[in-house]
Symmetry: D2
Subunit: 171 residues, 4 copies
């Protein structure tokens, strides 16, 4: 799935801003994950095994897998937002591929298409044991791009110059 | 969405069995929800607001919403399984419709089609404040029907008599 | 799945307008279906069996099933649009439940949540033989609400008065 | 999305067999596409613009886009089946990213995870004009692996040696 090329985040502090956006959520504090990579249009989370996230001993449950996939994908998309904008999930589809048995999960999100009001992103979830990585889930996520100053649910065009619905390739 | 008519669970203790299946998961203990209704092909969960499940104060985050929708739908399907069988999620798609602001969520799962190896179920998620219910998310879930005695991932035909892929309508 | 109550289409000619929107597409002429019911937030299509839409003799292929489900759901949502606005599919998820063997398909779309920029709708697909109806597929669809005068892909707020992201229940 | 490594199709004639499976469907004859690449776990279709598949002049409609994505993904998965087995779609999710304006569509399917009873595959859809390719849709597809000799809807284990639900990496 070829990501949009030449992604140039309009916010020079996109990495710190996106990480801050995610880490400010109470649920993130509870999960106890780390952000292990951020780049233009990509975002990686590493989640240690925790019993509270499990189906049974040693196995992550489907819900936290989807939660983390949504977060990594939405944050991958959020890296391309102007300062102060946020990404709000409209929907996510998660395919569970293997039992998620591992010391930790590594979740890699990436933009598929960045738009003005809506963006689409994807995430792959790997169960990791030592140096062994198994792809245990994959997800597609649609996010709304929301300006922060507006009342909840209001929506505005992104104030950036780009061609129609084409992927934002320059600021 | 018309559920299969005349659903007759093959396990006379389907209610207790399905509830036990869900409540035995460590994640369920952590969420702290109640099972507030169970019937043939349906399953309802009530989740009080908890900060650990929130996006910001008072608002449930998308991940727990999907987690609960998956659980209610998978358990609705599990009510139709023979004793000892379990439902294992293959995928779920969640559409977030409104900000999930509420004292609690009520999640209503129902079978859409019960099959031998695969079933499809749905769930609606309501944000509740006093007597006000707002539909804040809807989900479709595909589950595998797994026999418990087999090694993880093995799959067997349901040992029940019914017509091909038609919904199980009698035991 | 409770549809929004009290749906009051802002366009008094919503039925004719939505039907015209669908029937003007070249693909609709090719499929050769009929619109057999339209109401506020709902839209029904009846599709006779045609070999060009089949997987093998007598069985509709998955693609046309999804095509019709998307159309019925998007048109159900379009019934709530102001005059001249159109619904444009952002995504659809189709669950295939039974082999679609029938003289015809009846596809029933309904709004799940009507919003300003995005709406969610659903569709159930029935394979019909004589008086026998079998639910053979179900779908969830997200649509964008687009003003017609704008260049392709541009998006504007619906010029209607309603409370935030709540479903439009009055004009 | 890393495909399973070392895919070794158990059927040495997987390319011809998968192409034959697709081309034998009446709908394929109607669409008039070509299979332009086949390999272990991948399958590419090229579809010329046809008015019958359009939303308006020059623009492919969402339904045929989903149809082709489903076909390419299901066939990518089918390349890994033993002789005589077929892939039957259980569900598909399609995200529409850009208006599908082009002389033709190129649809690239690939296996994400090959399983015994269920497999997951993906497809990207490109609108092509001259040498310009625009990613206009992406899809995830779940397929059932069915033995051909069984009555419709019956399901059997794949008679291949591999480790549990792990991706088939050797025959």
């Amino acid at each position: 799935m070829p990501p949009s090329r030449q992604l140039m985040p309009p916010n020079p502090n996109f990495g710190a801003a996106t990480k801050q956006f995610l880490m400010a959520m109470p649920i993130s504090q509870h999960f106890g994950f780390d952000v292990t990579d951020v780049g233009p249009g990509r975002f990686e989370i590493t989640q240690p095994f925790r019993q509270e996230l499990s189906y049974r001993e040693g196995v992550f449950q489907a819900g936290p897998i989807g939660t983390l996939a949504d977060m990594a994908a939405a944050c991958a998309s959020a890296t391309m937002l102007p300062e102060g904008w946020i990404a709000s999930t409209a929907d996510y589809t998660v395919k569970l591929l293997e039992p998620a048995i591992g010391e930790r999960l590594v979740i890699r999100g990436r933009i598929v298409r960045f738009g003005r009001t809506l963006s689409v992103a994807a995430a792959d979830v790997f169960a990791v044991n030592g140096s062994d990585e198994v792809l245990c889930a994959t997800a597609l996520v649609t996010v709304r791009n929301l300006a922060p100053a507006l009342p909840a649910g209001e929506q505005v065009e992104l104030p950036v110059a780009h061609g129609g619905r084409r992927a934002l390739s320059s600021s």
